[in-house]
Structure formats: C-alpha cells, structure tokens
C-alpha cells in the first residue's frame, strides 16, 4: 500500500500494526516528549496526581525553561523551579539551565535530539518545527505530555496530508518565512486543520535547514497537525554537522533513523523516509514563486499576508528579530547584512534575540553582534521573550512592531491596542532602519 512519509513514520511507531489509514486512531510510541516553563508545571501536577513512580525513559523527556526565562518575576521563577526540581527528582538528563539553553525548537535540533523518522510530542504548539528534519512532530497540551511521560505513548488520529509543491526560483531576500506566510495567506489559518503539511518541490530541495525550520514551525498557524520535509542531502549534512558549525559534535546519535520506539516494536528495518509516488493526498497545492516578494502578515492573523511593497507606509516603533521561527544563525546573518554600517531609526526599538547560546556565540565570532550594537540594536539572552508578550519588549498602547516571530494575534506582544506585523529578518531589519515597513532593496 502506498503511503506518505507521515503515514510511514506513524505506522512504524505503532506496535503490532500492519497498515494505517488517515482518520483512524492509533496508540503510538514516542521518541521524545518536551515541555517548557509554561506547560510543564501543569504536566508535572498531572504526573504527580496520577501516582506514577517513574518516567518511561529519563533520556526521552526534555524540559526547557525558555518562555519567561531568565525568570521575569517571582511567579515565573517559581514555575521554572518546578522544572528543575522535577528533573532532579526523576533524573531527567535533558534539562537546561539558562547557560545551556535556547528557545526549545532551535535548541533540540542543534544538540542532536531530533532524528529523521522520529515521533516527537511537545507541550508547545510550535513542536511541529522538527518536521524540517523529516520527523513527525506535533504540539499538544500538558496532560497529553504527562501521559506520554508515564506511558511512552500517545493517542493520535492519523492525519490526511496536503502536499505543497513550490516551483520557480526565489528572488533575493525571499526565503522560508516568506513561503510559509504566502502559503498561510492562501489557505487561511484553518486551511490545514488536523492535517499534515508536506513541503516539497525544487524550491524546498534547494532550501537551507534554517529556512525549512521556519516553514515547518508555522504549520500550526494554518491549523496543521505537523509540517514535514523529506530528508535529503541537506538534512544529512546538517545531521553530520557538515557546514553547520552549531551542530553539537559530540552528541551520540542514539535515536537512529526511525527511533528506538520503532526498533523495539517493529524489528530493525529502517523506514524509507519518502512519500510513495502514488501516496494519497487530501489536496495538492502548487505554487510558482518566481515573482514572489518578501511577505508581511498584517494584524491580527498570520494569514493576512501581503507583499512588502504594499505596506511601505506603515510606521513602526519596534523591530524584533528572534524566536523559534527566525532566531537562527542564518537569520542573524541576513539581518546583519542590512544593519552593517547603518543606524536604526531613532524612534525604533530594535531587539535581537539569538535563539540559543550556541547561536549567540557564533554571532559573536562572526562579528554580527558588533554590527547590531553599532547599528543601535539591543541583544537579549535567548528567550521566547516578546514573541508571546512575556518580557524583553512589550508593546505599549498604540505601538506597532514588525517581528520575525510567528503570531500577530490581538495583544500578542503586549497591549490589546498594539499591532504586530510578521516578516523575515531582512524585512524586519530594513524596517528598523527606515522607521517604517521597508523592502530590503530600499537599503
């Protein structure tokens, strides 16, 4: 029977199952279960209430305090402490204090916790990011994660898949963020509700890993259950650390293709991580992106995408470059190209947030941080920070921001009377310099 890559991964993680169909419910084994300082407290409470004595595997639970850390106030400090205490009590190895940490969805791939073919659940909606490495990963709530910590399993409805094919040649200053904003603009914030989004075509094959992460990261903004890119040479190079200096060189590849869960339940054959030629899709969307400009999503939905040139009159008070969508090294390099030897408009707060400590260090090494400071930007320690209106850049009444983050809901970055526009890092940097939304070509 022909399958999509998503169906193959799910089948391989479901012990005793011979075939699989969209719409059916399965109880699947998980390779990793993640939570952060906002979602873990509820998971920990549920775990303790259940009376469970131990977790299913001390190496397969990941706790990253990244949303309100370094602790922004007493209550967030107390929540973050719950993670530290739980990690110590249950001997969970993948727990990260601020010196080792990063925004979870940038950190996990970087330190080698994600392998193609894995099944990952996370109490964070942007867990879908890891599909960029050819894994099935999806966000869910705290109770689901607590159940996963106890049983090593999860209930899932096998999703239908929508295939997206991108053809043509990307213009300068256009990347993964623009492709996904354009796509969400086309299908809407519930256009892929409950479905897997498979990104493919020559444009995706030529795309770097950071851009693929940005695309899969925002699958949830179209209502998607997961986003996925078939592993290829780019994926392989990334996993081996070739040309990706930030990949942790010492991490043992203890998950292997298809994950331990599969190996235990289903023999040792590797999954062929490709969608079969005659696999069934609920829809196929094809885009020619040769003429596509950088995209900007207007308030208050990620689906309000417009070409940047239509928005040049919009004045901004703040520019944020960071987050699990666009806080990676290639994002910072792109921003630095724009900021080099230029100054941020005196009326604008420009905030740069490297997504992990390793990205921060690499940015120092490459001289990017100096470029940002000289331009008049501030640099924050890794944190989700302003993306969800947590800290480090809350908007006041009436203020407008352009951000490389993933959501522009009403009040998302602070005041319910503020406005957030979403873009790629080059557009955000150009806008910081002009004091209004700007195309990088104007610089």
């Amino acid at each position: 029977m022909p399958y999509t890559i998503t169906e193959k991964i799910l089948l391989a993680h479901t012990p005793g199952k011979k075939d699989i169909h969209p719409g059916e419910f399965i109880w699947a084994k998980i390779d990793l279960a993640l939570a952060n300082d906002i979602t873990a407290p509820i998971a920990i409470e549920e775990f303790k209430k259940s009376g469970a004595k131990k977790v299913f595997d001390t190496k397969r639970i990941v706790l990253v305090p990244d949303h309100f850390t370094p602790a922004k106030d007493l209550r967030s400090a107390n929540q973050a402490r719950m993670l530290a205490d739980f990690a110590r009590e249950y001997k969970i190895t993948n727990y990260f204090e601020v010196g080792q940490m990063g925004v979870e969805h940038a950190l996990l791939p970087e330190i080698g916790l994600i392998r193609p073919g894995d099944l990952i659940i996370g109490a964070d909606s942007h867990t879908c990011t890891y599909g960029a490495l050819g894994a099935f990963s999806t966000g869910m709530g705290s109770t689901d994660i607590a159940a996963g910590w106890i049983t090593g399993g999860v209930w899932l409805r096998v999703p239908e898949t929508i295939k997206f094919i991108y053809k043509g040649k990307l213009k300068k200053w256009v990347g993964g963020k623009d492709l996904i904003l354009y796509t969400i603009g086309d299908i809407g914030v519930d256009g892929a509700l409950y479905k897997a989004m498979e990104f493919s075509g020559p444009v995706i094959e030529a795309l770097g890993m950071d851009d693929r992460f940005a695309m899969c990261n925002m699958a949830i903004e179209a209502g998607g259950k997961s986003g996925i890119v078939q592993p290829d040479k780019t994926t392989e190079s990334y996993l081996k650390g070739q040309g990706f200096p930030l990949r942790h060189p010492t991490t043992k590849q203890w998950y292997g293709f298809g994950g331990q869960a599969r190996v235990k339940g289903q023999g040792k054959k590797r999954i062929d991580l490709k969608s079969d030629k005659d696999a069934k899709y609920s829809d196929i969307k094809e885009y020619d992106i040769s003429k596509m400009e950088p995209q900007v999503a207007c308030p208050h939905l990620p689906s309000n995408a417009k070409p940047v040139s239509q928005l040049k009159g919009v004045k901004i008070d703040q520019a944020v470059i960071g987050s699990c969508t666009n806080g990676r090294i290639s994002d910072l390099r792109m921003a630095a190209k724009i900021f080099k030897n230029r100054k941020v408009q005196s009326t604008v707060n420009a905030i740069i947030i490297p997504a992990t400590q390793a990205i921060y260090k690499q940015a120092i090494k490459e001289g990017l941080i100096e470029i940002f400071v000289d331009a008049g930007c501030v640099i924050s320690t890794p944190s989700c920070g302003p993306c969800l209106g947590g800290h480090c850049g809350i908007l006041a009444d009436g203020q407008t921001a352009i951000a490389t983050t993933n959501r522009n809901f009403l009040g998302r970055m602070g005041s319910p009377k503020s406005f957030v526009y979403l873009s790629n890092p080059a557009v955000a940097a150009a806008s910081a310099i002009k004091g209004r939304i700007a195309h990088p070509e104007e610089i």
């Binding site: 419910f25 906002i38 979602t39 407290p41 509820i42 409470e45 549920e46 209430k49 259940s50 949303h67 309100f68 106030d73 209550r75 967030s76 929540q79 996370g122 109490a123 964070d124 909606s125 867990t127 966000g139 869910m140 709530g141 705290s142 109770t143 689901d144 607590a146 159940a147 106890i150 049983t151 209930w155 409805r157 914030v189 519930d190 509700l193 409950y194 949830i220 209502g223 259950k225 939905l301 969800l388 209106g389 947590g390 959501r407 809901f409 009403l410 009040g411 998302r412 319910p416």
Partner: protein, 161 residues
C-alpha cells in the same frame, strides 16, 4: 449529562491568547485563570458568566498555542460547554483531556447571544429553549468517547494499567 445555561457568542478564529493572555500563564489555578478569561476581546466576560453558561463560536475556536490554561480558564470561569463550527486541533485534545465538553456544530450561527440552551451530551442533542428548536449533533468518535467516559486522559491511562 445534561448541561443548561445561557449563551455567550464569539466569532471565528478565537485564539488561545484571546482566551487567556500569556501574561497570566504564571498560574495553573482554574479560578484565577477563569477571572482573566477572554479579557483581551471581551473585558467584562468573566463577570457576566453564570455557572453553567455556554460559549457559542464560529470556526477554528482555540487556534494558536498549546496552553492547556485555555480550556482550564474556560472551565474555571464556570462555562459548562463550548459549541463551535470547528475547533483547532490542540484545543480539541486539551478539552477532552481535562473534561471540558465541546461540540462541533455547523449551525452555530442560528443560536443568538443570551439564548437559553439545554444540551444532552449522551444523546448528542442541543435544545434551544429560547427559540424552541432542537438540533442533533455529531457524537464523539468511539475512541474519544472512551476517554471522555473514563473521566479524562489520565484516568483512561490508569484503566489501561
């Protein structure tokens, strides 16, 4: 289970930041979260809810983040059930897992704000007392019915042993 209450209406794409803003995610207490429920889009909402009231909304209710605080806040403010044309995936899971009844209902537009409803979950029936209309609704898939019947995900897992 029979649920009875008056309705509060919301539109399409109500997101989890609307339901409970991130600044309040320093608590896991249902009553505290409930007191801030819908604050951004409807500042007086929490004060206007009586125990047992029902939310009626458009498509894609609960889109956005995975915060379980969202259905917890809705339950915490006293809402007994959410009826919407469709639900975002994670919100749907979370509601089932914490035992907040939710109903997918295509004709949600026919229900007005303030209407008195009586919902029979087991029968899959919505009775609009104000308008004297009765509707049949989709039942949960059998798999989820079992989780709901067990009293939520954690209890279901315990039953499995």
């Amino acid at each position: 289970m029979i649920l009875k209450g008056k309705t509060h209406k919301f539109g399409d794409d109500v997101n989890t930041d609307d339901i409970i803003a991130a600044k309040y995610l320093v608590s896991t207490d249902p009553a505290e979260l409930g007191s801030k429920c819908m604050e951004t889009i409807s500042p007086y909402f929490s004060k206007s809810v009586s125990q047992g009231d029902i939310i009626v909304a458009g498509k894609n209710f609960g889109c956005g983040s995975s915060r379980e605080h969202a259905p917890v806040a809705i339950k915490g403010v006293g809402i007994s059930c959410v009826i919407a044309k469709s639900f975002a995936r994670i919100f749907y899971r979370n509601s089932i897992n914490i035992g907040l009844p939710i109903i997918e209902f295509n004709s949600a537009d026919e229900i007005n704000a303030g209407d008195e409803l009586e919902i029979d979950l087991a029968e899959g029936q919505i009775k609009n007392i104000t308008q004297s209309k009765t509707y049949k609704t989709e039942k949960f898939p059998a798999f989820m019915e079992k989780i709901v019947e067990s009293g939520g995900l954690m209890r279901w897992i315990k039953m499995l042993g």
